[in-house]
């Protein structure tokens, strides 16, 4: 993580040079993603040919596992890091393209349900994480970062808040490491729980989107369940991401008052600056699809392009997780994060199951 951050902080260099520097890492993302896809296909073919009954392990999990294996054994060489850091670009491009599979009416209906759940989840998780931080005597700014990271959108929210509340690098690294480790755990716990409870794709997708912190892991947790669940997880997570500006603004105002600094000047400009603009791209593509600008074959092509973009994202999820680096951050933030995550997962599960009884999802 530290090296990724360092890459992004580097002095501005020419765009073509920056692009060339990304190529080795993008190549590695592609190889890992394709290897995951090939493994899924080979295992499915082998088990079918030998009449074996083995649960299908999706390419998503293979890509993440191969990435994890590389990152935690041979390690990732510096030359690959700029390209691996593009996983978030592929994630957002994939989300915008996925808009073609949503009719705007669906977005508004499910978005309204998601928004209600997200608002309740935000209040409960921020309150609970703040309480946990106090009990475990974490620094107040680290507590704020963990609360924001677990309630909205993981790493992006932490980085946005770090600048706004002037938290130090150590607190930010702690919070990011905790959120990433817990996001990785969610990949292995959410799908089995969903299957165990017999959740429908839509209900599970809503849970993954509201319960898993980081956007990439939320999409992956959805995709591990089913394609349809991934679609709903993206929508719920996008709704959650759209809230980032309001929460960061709230924390910025709180810490400015507490530190005796000048409060945020133009609040509307602040909100616009923090608003994730890819949400607008997603809505625009969804609007175009709703107006039948694309025919069925074109919608399929856009959906498949979105899958290819997600394939690179999932490879990046595995490649950036380094357990040794995470261990260095200490155990207390993880305990707070883990306790918080378990409670938030339970709260969001209750909310989603409750909503599915009240509204036809």
């Amino acid at each position: 993580m530290a090296s990724t951050t360092a890459v992004l902080r580097a002095e501005p260099i020419q765009l073509p040079r920056r692009f060339l520097a990304m190529l080795p890492g993008i190549g590695l993302l592609t190889i890992v993603g394709l290897a995951g896809k090939a493994l899924e296909k080979s295992i499915a073919t082998y088990t079918k040919a030998h009449h074996l009954v083995v649960p299908n392990i999706e390419y998503v999990l293979w890509a993440i596992l191969i990435g994890l294996l590389i990152s935690n054994t041979v390690g990732v060489a510096e030359v690959f890091k700029p390209g691996i850091a593009t996983y978030e670009f592929w994630l957002k491009t994939g989300i915008v393209l996925l808009g073609a599979r949503f009719l705007l009416a669906d977005v508004l209906k499910l978005g309204a349900v998601s928004l209600t759940l997200v608002l309740i989840e935000l209040i409960l998780s921020i309150g609970f994480m703040t309480l946990l931080g106090r009990i475990f005597k974490l620094s107040p700014k680290l507590t704020s970062l963990l609360a924001v990271g677990s309630s909205i959108c993981g790493v992006s929210a932490i980085i946005a808040t770090r600048g706004a509340i002037e938290a130090d690098d150590e607190d930010s690294s702690f919070a990011i490491a905790a959120i990433l480790a817990l996001g990785a755990l969610a990949l292995f716990t959410f799908p089995p729980i969903g299957h165990w409870l017999g959740m429908s794709d839509r209900v599970y997708g809503l849970w993954a989107g509201t319960g898993v912190d980081n956007t990439a892991e939320a999409v992956a947790a959805g995709a591990l369940y089913s394609d349809a669940a991934a679609k709903i997880a993206v929508l719920a997570k996008t709704t959650r991401n759209a809230m980032i500006g309001f929460v960061v603004l709230g924390y910025a105002l709180y810490w400015a008052a507490r530190d005796g600094r000048q409060a945020v000047g133009n609040k509307a400009a602040f909100l616009w600056q923090k608003f994730p603009k890819f949400v607008l791209g997603f809505l625009l593509i969804s609007l175009l699809a709703s107006l039948s600008i694309f025919n069925k074959d074109q919608v399929n092509s856009l959906a498949n392009l979105s899958r290819w973009a997600f394939l690179l994202t999932f490879a990046g999820v595995g490649l950036r997780i380094n357990f040794k680096e995470m261990k260095k951050q200490g155990i207390r933030p993880f305990i707070v994060g883990a306790l918080g995550e378990v409670v938030i997962a339970a709260i969001t599960l209750g909310l989603v199951l409750g909503a599915s009884k009240l509204v036809r999802l």
Partner: protein, 41 residues
Amino acid sequence: MANQVTQEKSQRGLSLDGWAVAIALLLAALVKLGALKHVGW
């Protein structure tokens, strides 16, 4: 991370989100115009 890149926007033009939207729209236009057909998976 996204917002860290966003903060560099003024130095480099488009933000990460801006690039993602621009590339996605470009791909959508290519699909619409028939330059990209039957993308498989």
